[in-house]
């Protein structure tokens, strides 16, 4: 018996050693290298993906890396895996491996030139890859859009539930306010609608008004947040949970009763302004702004209030203003996400933002990880992909997802990536070759606060 377990242990460690050796050439690959590799893979897919898929016995390119095929057409699973290996894994591995030197050089030069330029180049490559990948079919585009909106939503809820440590149930309400506000503005101005009348402005102005309508949606959501914050921040405890829950139902009922906004039947025919590019820009903006906020001392004050309000008080922190600001700020972004969502699915009604939505957004935050921007990105994207991958299960999807969440709560209650700082500027640096001694890229002077 002891011999058997020893063989197991040695087998496991030799496996790990093999994996470490296999990974070794990839350790010096900078982010730029990975992004470029992904871009190449995506280009390859667009060029020869369809014929390769057909050759492997699939009628079309697998929409979501084979995740859906896994459950919908399990007989094609092997083909899908082969496809993914040939079109994605292989090109990515090759390009990443063999462009290490130029990638590191370029990354270094970009950083040396300007941090902002480096960010822009990296984002452009990422955008190009995303754009090409989702251009393959409408479904991919929808998934990409929903995933990005989920990131915004998750980030905004994380500010309250993670960084501030409260339990807020009002996010669907904020999303509803933003969704309706933005929809009403765009439909009123640009669409001939039964309910809201003829279009008031020429359609060319549409894409310009869209950001404004989203911002207005966010502001409306923030105003709604006051209704929750003012009563509940005077007291400690579970009151925010309860009052925010009541708020969510009030908003739902409000829209059910406002016939001018469609009542229970809702609003449809939102103009198609939520393009992939628009949503991408808003998502990047939200990540940037929210990350800036939580890394500042003003943002850390939120953690101080969460972990020791009395001490925060004694250290000159205006705790009430800190909480209020963060809460309204989070509500704003929830409103923006709601507005974007409304223009992607192009139909909203009061039910869109009820208890089911609450369960989803909570799941995304707690799945991804509390108090971590990276966690929210992972949680938002991961949840959307998981939700899509489980779609073939139909109704059973809504048994599987809750079960997974419960297991998560039991075994990893703070989520996958929790309490970590998101420092994107560190990803932009070229990586040192592991055998190269004494050749270190310049380190920033202080722990927090990026400098150009």
């Amino acid at each position: 018996m002891a011999v058997a377990s020893q063989t197991l242990t040695t087998r496991w460690s030799s496996l790990r050693a093999w994996l470490a050796r296999a990974w070794h050439p990839y350790r010096p690959v900078p982010l730029l290298g990975w992004l470029a590799a992904i871009l190449v893979a995506v280009v390859i897919e667009r060029a020869i993906g369809a014929p390769v898929a057909r050759a492997l016995g699939m009628s079309r390119v697998p929409a979501l890396f084979g995740f859906i095929i896994m459950l919908k057409k399990p007989e094609l699973l092997f083909s899908a895996l082969l496809y993914v290996s040939l079109i994605y894994l292989l090109p990515i591995a090759l390009v990443a491996r063999f462009t290490v030197r130029p990638a590191n050089r370029i990354a270094g030069e970009l950083i040396g030139y300007s941090l902002t330029a480096s960010f822009l180049i990296h984002l452009s490559v990422l955008y190009a890859a995303l754009f090409l990948w989702s251009g393959e079919n409408d479904y991919r585009e929808l998934v990409a859009k929903l995933a990005m909106i989920a990131v915004i939503t998750t980030l905004s809820l994380n500010v309250v539930n993670g960084y501030m440590g409260e339990f807020s149930c009002s996010h669907p309400g904020f999303m509803a306010l933003g969704a309706y506000a933005a929809s009403v503005i765009t439909i009123l101005l640009f669409v001939d609608d039964n309910l809201l009348g003829e279009a008031l402005l020429p359609p060319e102005l549409g894409p310009f008004m869209f950001p404004i309508s989203l911002i207005i949606g966010g502001v409306v959501a923030a105003a709604g947040a006051l209704m929750v914050a003012i009563p509940s921040f005077r007291t400690r405890g579970d009151y925010l949970a309860i009052i925010s829950l009541a708020f969510m139902f009030i908003v739902k009922s409000l829209f059910e009763n406002l016939e001018v906004f469609g009542g229970p039947r809702g609003l449809a025919n939102q103009p198609d302004y939520a393009s992939l590019t628009t949503i991408f820009l808003w998502t990047i903006a939200s990540i940037w702004v929210i990350n800036n906020f939580v890394r500042s001392t003003m943002g850390k004050a939120l953690n101080a209030v969460r972990d020791g309000e009395m001490a925060a008080d004694a250290m000159t922190v205006n705790t009430r203003r800190t909480k209020m600001t963060a809460f309204l700020f989070a509500a704003f972004w929830a409103g923006v996400a709601g507005g974007l969502l409304a223009h992607v699915i192009r139909y909203i009604n009061p039910d869109t933002f009820g208890i089911r939505r609450l369960a989803e957004v909570l799941a995304m935050v707690y799945l991804g990880g509390l108090n971590a921007v990276a966690g929210s990105i992972v949680g938002g994207v991961g949840f959307v992909i998981m939700s899509e991958a489980l779609r073939p299960l139909e109704i059973l999807k809504w048994i599987m997802i809750p079960v997974l969440l419960i297991l998560l709560m039991i075994f990893r209650p703070t989520g996958l990536i929790a309490f970590r700082e998101f420092e994107p500027e560190k990803f932009l640096r070229p990586k040192v070759e592991s055998n190269d001694q004494g050749k270190h890229p310049p380190q920033p002077v202080q722990a927090v606060g990026d400098r150009p």
């Binding site: 500042s296 850390k300 000159t316 922190v317």
Partner: protein
């Protein structure tokens, strides 16, 4: 008028009188102590002056400004710093972030700076970080700057707490049992640190302590509290020999 002036402060918790006719004058640079048996009301007095409770009666003035009715963070901003008996540190934050946090009220970059990472914010955060580093060095805890505070040994945590309170740039510093839970070596270190900051920074210090020897060695003037009232006030020698003080502690475990 003294730097910190408390006149006839009385406080009731419901029907219970916790503090009675308490008065205090602290001049700039004084090192004062507050002793008394358990439950005498020492921490309550701290909490009253620092704004956690509003006294039922009485007046408190810091540098002439009345503190009555002000919120704790406002009082802290006016220059009254404090540490806590049970070390209220922030579990998930690093040592440096703790000390930086106390500079909150001095940051003027506002929401726009926080959201958009303006130059003003970067500069102010940089300055704050440098100032925090200096303070950590002063208390001998700068080697821990980037560690999460819960991973530190207890003595180091106490010093971080001290640095945090100092970051307010207080005129008066309240220390609530700064030696609680310390072994003799840590005790010696903290005494040196307190002496050093008192000498170098010239701030007034007011501390609550149970360890008599510590108070006697450190403080210039000592108040003794019993049942919410001051029963004796004077130099260490005077207090040591005061009948009433000995009476109050009779039967209790003390080391003189």
């Amino acid at each position: 008028m003294a730097l910190l002036q408390v006149d006839d402060m009385t406080h009731y918790f419901g029907g219970l009188r916790a503090v009675h006719n308490y008065s205090l004058q602290i001049e700039p640079g004084e090192l004062r102590g507050l002793i008394g048996p358990n439950g005498a009301g020492k921490t309550t007095i701290f909490n009253l002056i620092t704004g956690r409770y509003t006294p039922t009666e009485g007046e408190i003035r810091l540098d002439g400004t009345s503190l009555i009715g002000l919120k704790p963070y406002e009082i802290a901003s006016l220059g009254l710093g404090r540490t806590f008996q049970n070390l209220r540190l922030w579990r998930h934050m690093t040592v440096l972030e703790h000390v930086k946090m106390a500079r909150y009220s001095r940051l003027s970059y506002g929401l726009s700076g926080a959201l958009f990472n303006t130059r003003k914010r970067r500069e102010q955060e940089q300055d704050t970080a440098e100032e925090a580093s200096r303070l950590l060095k002063r208390v001998g805890a700068d080697q821990y700057a980037d560690q999460v505070v819960t991973s530190l040994p207890y003595g180091a945590q106490r010093r971080v707490e001290l640095a945090r309170a100092l970051a307010i740039e207080p005129k008066v510093l309240f220390l609530d049992e700064p030696t609680a839970g310390m072994n003799p070596e840590e005790l010696r270190q903290i005494m040196e640190i307190i002496r050093a900051i008192h000498a170098d920074l010239g701030l007034a210090i007011f501390l609550i302590e149970h360890r008599m020897r510590f108070v006697m060695e450190l403080c210039e003037i000592i108040q003794t509290l019993d049942f919410g009232e001051v029963i004796a006030e004077g130099t260490p020698d005077e207090i040591r020999n005061d009948e009433r003080v000995i009476d109050a502690y009779l039967g209790k475990d003390i080391e003189i």
